[in-house]
């Protein structure tokens, strides 16, 4: 027997929590599933358990998460924590594992709120132990563990500055910032500046972070090119050029980041419509003004539907709740309209700074078009040169590339190579990214044990 709800929300980040609070208020029975032990998502990870010292390090924008976790707790929604979702069907059957045991729930409407993942950043040596994502370092800070001393931060974008500032407060001052953006990117972004000024709080926050980094005396190397992480078995140094001048910095820890991209594992597995977004340089599921996807009973909210940040995620979660409640006939079109309009206005306002940020801190060219010898599929150890060779042999898309050379067939299911494979094939064939396509994703979305699969099969036969 599977338990049934009006709405199942996948992901308890700002989008999922806000959606749950609003949907229950509109009269829906709601379950929220998330693989983390407590609600918060990426930005507010562990917010309820974090110590006062951690809150001081992570800042007020982190502590703000309390208001959302509280709203979730008070809402009456069922929060199913520690639940890894690995199969979802279009008619609302959700299969997950919790503590090694598989289970299923059913819902009339689904809201996907699975957030973002780090944009893959293939560089020579990025698989060496000691090289991690900037998000990984933030996860350590949020769970009360400290990052190794003297890390080097590599890449671009606001989250890299946020991490640097948090590490300074934590007493783990980064040794250097190796930044891939250059003055010409800022110049290209100048037309977006007037619009961005309307979202001035984001710019002021960015300026504050930069001031803090400069005051701490952290060297910043901009226009970084030819970055290579080096070491025999573990990372020992980073070599690069900045404005054409070569540098080498000894370090055991490098933290990489050049933006986040929507986590589309579930929306892909459900075969929802996606399109390539040229300004964010990633695939984005297609949603309407109410966050409804190409399937009428499935909504997508938060960074999973396009990168907007935590505030936008929470607002879109609420909008998705109105959309879902309306489709379920729980509210009138008038109530929906009256509820959604102010949320859409606020969301628009929060998005003002986005085009400027996207253009001023573009993804690193060296990683969008890696050198032939750079590994791009970490699991199966496939290089950029392999993919280019497949293209010359007539390979047109990432699913075909899998057959040529296993890229995307490892346990991460293409989470850290899929976009790169698409970019490389598009560059080689001259096709658009949309025509090149993305890796096909199939359940189980995460590797499960044979025991879990067996129990799942037994369950499925019952229903």
């Amino acid at each position: 027997m599977t338990v049934a709800f009006d709405i199942a929300i996948l992901g308890a980040g700002p989008a999922g929590m806000a959606a749950a609070a609003r949907a229950t208020q509109l009269g829906a029975s709601v379950v929220v599933l998330d693989e983390q032990a407590s609600p918060g998502g990426q930005i507010y990870r562990n917010v309820d358990q974090a110590s006062a010292a951690q809150h001081r390090i992570l800042g007020p924008d982190y502590s703000h998460g309390h208001s959302l976790t509280q709203a979730l707790r008070k809402s009456g929604a069922v929060h199913c924590a520690g639940a890894t979702v690995w199969d979802v069907s279009r008619d609302g059957l959700v299969t997950y594992s919790k503590g090694g045991q598989p289970a299923q729930i059913r819902a009339k409407h689904l809201i996907l709120a699975t957030g973002a993942t780090e944009r893959p950043m293939p560089l020579p040596g990025w698989t060496l132990p000691g090289a991690m994502t900037a998000g990984a370092a933030q996860i350590l800070l949020k769970s009360g563990a400290l990052v190794a001393r003297d890390p080097v931060l590599i890449g671009s974008g606001p989250l890299l500055y946020l991490l640097a500032a948090q590490m300074i407060t934590a007493g783990r001052k980064p040794r250097a910032m190796i930044e891939t953006q250059s003055r010409s990117d800022m110049w290209a972004a100048r037309h977006d500046l007037p619009g961005a000024l309307r979202g001035w709080r984001y710019l002021a926050k960015g300026a504050g972070l930069l001031t803090k980094i400069m005051a701490a005396g952290i060297p910043r190397y901009t226009a970084a090119r030819e970055i290579a992480l080096e070491g025999a078995d573990t990372l020992t140094s980073v070599r690069f050029t900045s404005h054409g001048k070569p540098h080498e910095i000894a370090t055991k820890t490098a933290l990489l980041h050049h933006g986040v991209v929507p986590n589309t594992q579930i929306s892909r597995a459900l075969r929802l419509e996606h399109a390539y977004d040229q300004s964010q340089r990633c695939f984005v599921p297609q949603v309407d003004g109410l966050c409804l996807s190409s399937e009428p009973n499935i909504s997508i909210a938060g960074d999973g539907a396009g990168i907007g940040g935590a505030k936008v995620a929470a607002l879109s979660g609420e909008i998705a709740a109105f959309g879902a409640a309306s489709r379920l006939g729980l509210i009138t079109p008038q109530t929906q309209q009256a509820g959604v309009a102010p949320l859409q206005r606020k969301r628009q306002h929060e998005l003002h700074a986005r085009p400027f940020l996207d253009r001023a801190y573009p993804p690193a060219t060296q990683s969008l078009s890696p050198a032939d010898t750079t590994l791009i599929c970490r699991c199966e150890e496939v290089t950029a040169g392999d993919i280019r060779r497949f293209a010359k042999l007539g390979c047109k898309g990432p699913n075909q590339a899998k057959a040529f050379g296993r890229a995307g067939m490892g346990p991460c299911q293409g989470r850290f190579c899929g976009l790169t494979v698409t970019e490389l094939l598009a560059q080689e064939t001259g096709q658009s990214q949309d025509d090149t396509g993305a890796l096909r994703i199939r359940a189980p979305l995460k590797p499960v044990t044979l025991g879990e699969l067996a129990a799942y099969d037994a369950n499925s036969q019952e229903t």
């Binding site: 993942t117 698989t127 991690m132 990984a136 078995d233 970490r378 346990p411 989470r415």
Partner: protein, 88 residues
């Protein structure tokens, strides 16, 4: 909390994951890859990259998604070594 990595005795704060506990002890290389035998360790810490795999009680798990427990025995995953042992 006390735990073991291979034959090393280590301690970790309550609430740590296996990955954060090992990183805290200065260990970054957790396993070797099946393809080339290269050393790997945690990369994303959010359950997405599968680079932090370790073996606990004979089961391969993601170290970043596994809470540390008192007395836990954590081992490296060395697929190539095991393959060769099997052949020997």
């Amino acid at each position: 909390m006390q735990f073991h990595f291979e034959d090393r005795r280590l301690s970790a704060p309550r609430g740590a994951t296996v990955a954060s506990a090992l990183l805290g002890a200065g260990i970054t290389a957790f396993r070797e890859t099946p393809v080339s035998g290269a050393a790997r360790g945690p990369f994303c810490l959010m359950g997405a990259c599968y680079d932090c795999l370790v073996s606990i009680n004979g089961v391969t798990v993601q170290a970043c998604m596994t809470p540390i427990e008192e007395g836990l025995q954590v081992c490296r995953v060395r697929p190539r070594l095991t393959e060769n042992e099997d052949k020997a």
